[in-house]
């Protein structure tokens, strides 16, 4: 590892970890509690290749006991050493991941992730899906945390509906773009927007 790279991989963490992580956690929590709403999340500057929002989420949610799967499009030595320093999280295969990061295409197939068991539905993966933009809205969402209904842009309506149909099992999604994120928990009912 070159000197510059070593120093870079350690920079860009939360400046004041307790406060920054608490703010980021609040954004993540609000996103999950209000599916489909956009939240701002800032405080960390991850290495090139992933969004600030995804970087903040990983620093907030990961530690030595959460396995991270990096999809091929985001996996890099720079990102690995940045996450190793700041979170201590181990890197694991997709089928063992607590958290998975990548673009939608790179994260597929969804079937490879843990969906929990009927005794422990929480033993499942959370997918952090990097988007280039929050695109045109194609889905109508209803369910817990949503008053009446809301609309959202999902990368693949059918796949997300399939995941939700397994409730209480399944994976949960964060969608990240620049310094914004939104979430889609497995409890949300998804219909095509008319």
């Amino acid at each position: 590892m070159s000197l510059d790279m070593e120093t870079n991989s350690y920079g860009g963490g939360f400046a004041t970890p307790p406060v920054d992580a608490a703010n980021a956690f609040r954004a993540a929590m609000n996103a999950m509690a209000r599916p489909g709403t956009l939240q701002n999340i800032t405080g960390a500057e991850p290495p090139a290749g992933i969004s600030a929002a995804a970087g903040c989420l990983l620093l907030t949610l990961c530690d030595p006991e959460t396995g991270i799967y990096l999809a091929p499009d985001v996996d890099s030595p720079g990102l690995r050493s940045w996450l190793a320093f700041h979170t201590g999280a181990p890197f694991v295969a997709a089928d063992q991941a607590d958290f998975a990061l990548g673009s939608w295409q790179a994260l597929l197939p969804l079937g490879q992730y843990r969906i929990g068991t009927s005794e422990y539905p929480d033993r499942s993966a959370t997918l952090i899906v990097e988007l280039t933009e929050f695109a045109a809205q194609n889905a109508s969402l209803t369910g817990p945390g949503i008053k009446d209904s809301t609309t959202f842009a999902l990368p693949d309506l059918g796949a997300c509906q399939g995941n939700a149909s397994q409730f209480p099992l399944g994976v949960d999604f964060f969608f990240t773009c620049h310094s914004q994120l939104a979430a889609l928990p497995r409890s949300t009912t998804i219909l095509a927007k008319d």
Partner: protein, 366 residues
């Protein structure tokens, strides 16, 4: 009529203030420093570290001071503090074979390679109160001899050569962690050992004693008992290699247990294992006996219905913080619960009385 209560804030504040004053005691007597507790009450400090499940002698000394010497209260304080610490990771398994032994004895082999080293033991003291200690200013000095700096091999290694004792298959399975996953049964030996290592010394001692008195007797000898410091290593993710983080003092006990053989295992010696933070000899021997008793199923022994063979019973009741929490909560206000009980008992009494009067009236009529 009983009603729920709230309030009492001023009384509680004042109770805390009085508690603080009582903790300090007579102010004409010098206050204890943490260093004094750490250095001169070191076995109490060790117990608080072992059962608080956090190795930090200064913190344990603080907890003992704050709890007025109530060790279970001190353990409670350490457990509460422990939960606030971010978990940096898991160490490599410590190698007790490289322990710098202060003490190392075997009850089974008098000529143990590496020697029998008594260390600072109470064993051969006369248990007579030493009134000289009541006077201040004593600075006793230990004798010395040319030090032996080589590592001391484990005694069970010699028995393993003959295959006359069961082997401990080495593995790198990731062990369950009861501080992270709720305990479920069967818990498995790794979680059992973690639970026993932090369990209440008195409870583990009582369970171990029950096996000696015949409830799932397993004929234990102390194959080896060693006390000393071992280095703790952890792999540092950002460095890509392991470094030593420091040293911990441990007490390790390996029992050698007579075993007649079973449907699945030939006659040989079996093993029980105890490992505890600090110099905690009684606890580590007791832990080894209970560990061995709990292994009945894997060794193909009969379930004799003994308490020490019952994993769920032992593990569910060994934690003194859980136990004291549930036990002591019944002294806190339960006025509403009790009121419903009271009404129920009054109603039952009324009904019983009505029934009796009814019967009496009927008898009189007949």
């Amino acid at each position: 009529m009983y009603v729920a209560v709230k309030g009492g804030e001023r009384a509680i504040d004042n109770a805390h203030a009085w508690l603080a004053e009582e903790r300090r005691g007579d102010t004409s007597v010098a206050e204890l420093s943490l260093a004094q507790i750490r250095e001169q009450m070191s076995l109490a400090v060790n117990r608080v570290m072992a059962e608080g499940s956090l190795y930090d002698p200064d913190l344990a000394a603080l907890a003992i001071k704050q709890s007025r010497g109530d060790l279970i209260e001190a353990i409670f304080l350490i457990r509460a503090y422990r939960t606030t610490l971010p978990r940096f990771g898991y160490s490599e398994a410590v190698d007790t074979g490289v322990m710098a032994c202060d003490r190392r004895i075997s009850a089974t082999f008098k000529d143990a390679p590496g020697g029998q080293v008594l260390g600072p033991t109470f064993d051969y003291t006369h248990r007579l109160l030493d009134f000289k200690l009541a006077a201040d200013g004593e600075t006793p000095e230990a004798a010395t001899a040319p030090p032996r700096m080589e590592t001391t091999p484990h005694i069970t290694e010699f028995l393993q050569g003959e295959d006359i004792i069961e082997r401990e298959p080495s593995s790198d399975t990731v062990p369950g962690d009861l501080t992270r996953e709720p305990m479920s049964f069967p818990a498995g030996r790794a979680v059992r050992l973690q639970s026993l290592a932090r369990g209440d010394e008195g409870f583990i001692l009582g369970m171990a004693y029950s096996t000696q008195r015949g409830y799932a007797r397993n004929h234990a000898f102390v194959g080896e008992l060693r006390i000393g410091k071992v280095p703790v290593e952890m792999e540092i993710p950002e460095l890509g290699f392991a470094i030593e983080l420091g040293e911990v003092e441990l007490t390790e006990c390996e029992t050698v247990n007579q075993f007649k053989g079973s449907k699945t295992v030939p006659p040989q010696f079996t093993r029980g294992y105890g490992l505890v933070f600090g110099q905690s000899e009684r606890k580590s021997i007791a832990m080894a006996l209970v560990d061995r008793a709990l292994r009945w199923e894997e060794l193909g022994e009969d379930n004799l219905g003994a308490a020490a063979q019952d994993e769920e019973f032992v593990l569910s009741h060994s934690d003194n913080i859980q136990a004291t929490g549930f036990l002591e909560h019944i002294k806190l206000p339960h006025y509403v619960d009790f009121q419903s009980e009271l009404e129920l008992v009054r109603k039952l009494r009324r009904e019983a009385q009505e029934l009796a009067e009814d019967m009496a009236a009927r008898e009189a009529a007949e």
